[in-house]
């Protein structure tokens, strides 16, 4: 009995010198032919079929070669591939070795002979080592022209189905559009900047004070000019930054974005610029474009579809912006004459935006977390 407690209180800190057993199965699919490369740990093969012929505790290349046919038969009997529901015949091609982070692996390259007509989906059924070690995992990667996809095969989920063609251009494009919309939606600094410029659009400056606009057309054109110049400006810098023509440090960009929101909001409370807000939108739009670019960079830009990603993301940002404008404008126009809009929303709202943005500015410029908002 004694000796147990110690084992206990220690073992939660157990070191793992190695990782659990994995194999790496890579399939190269193009919709017509199918090839595979399967990296299987020598440790696991030793446990399953025995490789160390002379029992000296070391596996040599000669010992592995002598067992190659057995390795092939053992492994390939535990993998089945099918293309569009039709079983593929697996034939070993080359035998190599490779090192992974936890030791040496046998590399088995094979051809899969499936249907001659071409295929759209591949199904993988995997059971290697699951009977000997239920913690074993098959790490699957399917390489397609243009992209790749990964999956994990386990005793709980021994079958995966993956499509053989890369995502279509249209699907990739719509992914980026969605990202653009999403980014505007969660990017409060962009929304607040846009709102600061939109809030006074339902007014006209009469030389000393704001008055409600008399015609919707005036307001509409004002908004149109502001939104368009913001869009054009940030599209320019987004493209330049995404193409690595211009690169700015992100702290500078993020601080400048916060500053742009402060200034735009304060301008509503103490107007300096009234007529040509589209120019303000353009100038600061250039800064916001750099902010969008860093998001796009985080998403990972496909080398072969850079333009597609760029246009898609930009379109998404515009769609998001238009949605905000479409929700804001009719409401603001309807309320423009009321006290609530003039004092509470316009002045109060602008002041609140300026305050929030000022906190961002401090945090970003001095790399602080104030924890206030």
């Amino acid at each position: 009995m004694r000796g147990l407690l110690l084992a206990l209180l220690l073992s939660c800190a157990t070191a793992e010198a190695h990782k659990p057993s994995d194999s790496y199965l890579t399939l190269f699919a193009d919709g017509k032919t199918l090839r595979g490369q399967w990296d299987i740990a020598l440790r696991d093969l030793e446990y399953a079929i025995g490789l160390d012929a002379n029992g000296d505790g070391a596996i040599t290349w000669g010992e592995l070669k002598a067992k190659q046919a057995e390795v092939d038969a053992y492994a390939l009997a535990r993998l089945s591939l099918s293309a569009d529901g039709k079983a593929c015949r697996l034939a070993p091609a080359d035998h190599l070795v490779d090192d992974h982070s936890d030791g040496a692996y046998a590399v088995l390259r094979f051809r899969a002979e499936c249907t001659p007509e071409g295929y759209g989906r591949i199904a993988v059924e995997y059971s290697l080592f699951f009977d000997l070690d239920p913690t074993h995992r098959g790490l699957l990667r399917v390489e397609r022209p243009g992209d790749s996809e990964t999956g994990i095969l386990s005793p709980e989920r021994p079958r995966l189905e993956i499509r053989a063609q890369a995502r279509s251009r249209l699907e990739q494009f719509s992914d980026y559009v969605r990202e653009g919309v999403w980014h505007i939606w969660i990017g409060f600094d962009h929304i607040l900047f846009l709102l600061s410029l939109l809030l006074p659009a339902v007014f006209v400056w009469s030389g000393s004070t704001w008055r409600p606009a008399e015609r919707f057309a005036t307001t509409f054109w004002d908004v149109f000019k502001v939104a368009t110049s913001f869009t054009v400006a940030h599209s320019i810098t987004l493209s330049l930054a995404a193409l690595s023509v211009v690169e700015l440090p992100s702290r500078l960009v993020e601080s400048a974005i916060a500053l742009s929101v402060v200034l735009a909001a304060l301008n509503n409370v103490w107007p300096l610029v009234h007529g040509r807000r589209w120019m303000v939108a353009f100038g600061f739009g250039l800064i916001h474009g750099f902010g969008f670019a860093s998001v796009l960079a985080d998403l990972g830009l496909p080398r072969d579809a850079l333009l597609l990603a760029l246009v898609g993301f930009n379109v998404g940002v515009e769609v998001g912006q238009l949605a905000i404008i479409a929700a804001f404008l009719p409401l603001a126009y309807a309320l423009r004459g009321t006290w609530a809009y003039r004092r509470l929303v316009f002045v109060g709202g602008s002041a609140a935006i300026a305050l929030v943005a000022a906190i961002w500015l401090t945090e970003r410029a001095f790399d602080l977390k104030l924890g206030l908002i």
Binding site: A17, S21, S101
Partner: protein
């Protein structure tokens, strides 16, 4: 921001792989196995396996084999043995399996950090054998990992030994030293060790390691160093002791000694981390390849969709990669499951470096409630307030 799944396709990209190749000659050694065929451990495993295979209905034989694998997994840090152990117990999946199966199943679950299931298995063992020493002490240990000190204390009190037995004292001292009564715990544990004449080397090692940690936190570096050295002198390779002593040496600015201590331990993730930290402090050329090797191990583990060493990964990101924001995120993720003092420390230090006091709130709350005494932890916490 949460990226949609479509952008995560390149999950393998960060993992550096050597290129597949054909070795130059038949004599090239590709892999060293844990033992030769005539190695006594391998022979023992073979005979246990044969016994279990010969009597597939015999749960005791299967549990013995699984237990042996589990001990090997701990001793050698090789989780493959845990997989073999699970395979050995596969015939008894239900909750009314024999006690010896339930117990080993609990051990295997906790190894994979499935603490809820492990507590349940030990509970079932105790409902049938209330005096099961192992199940009781494991429950105490698991509650400690979860920072549930009241439950841990209940399990300690229920240990089927006398109150002044070294076990009972060690169990209580472990809790007391984590909850603001370090000095008293240190005195009691040292006293119990001195009073007990027939202490096994394994348990002496554990007690000395804990005494070293307590003395260190009490600010008595000389005593701490003495305890750690006494433990090392027992001549047993113990990952936990080496890690604790290396942490102590690193904090005392004795990186050279830490590097020497861990020179031959690069195969253990936890020790490779400390070795790389020591080498980095010393400006050694070995630091870079070791840091890279660690990164590859974390990347390889995450491919499986499992991250069992997030505490270490957070420390790696903070001290070796200089990325406090990422360290904070991983450290907080780890804190959801593992709440031992070192898990807390990495969160506090990462939060301080990332200037994000808000994120560290759950750990600050733990520090306040537990009353854990450590100068370094207090400093990290103070810099956040």
């Amino acid at each position: 921001m949460q990226l949609p799944k479509v952008f995560l396709f390149c999950a393998w990209c960060g993992v550096a792989l050597a290129a597949p190749h054909i070795p130059g000659s038949d004599g090239d050694v590709l892999e060293r196995l844990p033992g030769r065929r005539d190695d006594p451990v391998q022979a023992e495993l073979r005979s246990l396996r044969a016994a279990s295979n010969a009597a597939p209905e015999d749960s005791a034989a299967a549990a013995t084999l699984a237990r042996r694998y589990f001990d090997l997994a701990n001793a050698e840090g090789d989780p493959r043995y845990v997989g073999y152990a699970e395979a050995a117990l596969r015939r008894w999946p239900s909750n009314d399996a024999p006690v010896e199966v339930l117990y080993v199943r609990g051990l295997l679950r906790q190894y994979r950090h499935d603490f809820d299931t492990a507590l349940g298995e030990f509970e079932r063992v105790l409902s049938r054998e209330p005096d099961h020493f192992g199940a009781r002490s494991w429950r105490a240990g698991l509650y400690m990992v979860r920072a549930d000190y009241a439950s841990a204390a209940r399990e300690c009190a229920a240990l089927p030994v006398e109150k002044d037995d070294l076990y009972a004292v060690a169990c209580r001292a472990y809790i007391d030293a984590t909850t603001g009564k370090t000095a008293a715990a240190y005195r009691q544990l040292a006293g119990a060790l001195a009073a007990d004449r027939d202490v096994e080397p394994g348990e002496r090692l554990w007690v000395l390691t804990r005494l070293g940690e307590m003395a260190w936190r009490l600010g008595d570096a000389a005593a701490a160093d003495r305890h750690f050295r006494d433990a090392l002198a027992l001549g047993r390779d113990d990952n936990f002791l080496l890690a604790a002593y290396a942490d102590f040496l690193l904090e005392q600015g004795r990186a050279k000694e830490a590097a020497r201590l861990l020179r031959d331990w690069a195969r253990s993730d936890t020790l490779l981390l400390r070795l790389a930290m020591a080498e980095k402090q010393l400006g050694s050329p070995d630091a870079q390849p070791h840091i890279q090797a660690l990164g590859e191990r974390f990347a390889a583990a995450s491919l499986r969709g499992e991250r069992l060493h997030m505490g270490e990964e957070a420390r790696y990101l903070l001290d070796l990669k200089g990325d406090p924001a990422a360290a904070l995120a991983v450290g907080l993720e780890n804190w959801k499951e593992q709440r031992e003092p070192r898990d807390a420390l990495v969160v506090l230090e990462a939060a301080a470096a990332a200037r994000d006091a808000k994120a560290a709130a759950p750990v600050l709350k733990w520090l306040e409630q537990s009353g854990f005494e450590s100068e370094r932890m207090r400093r990290a916490a103070a810099s956040l307030r």
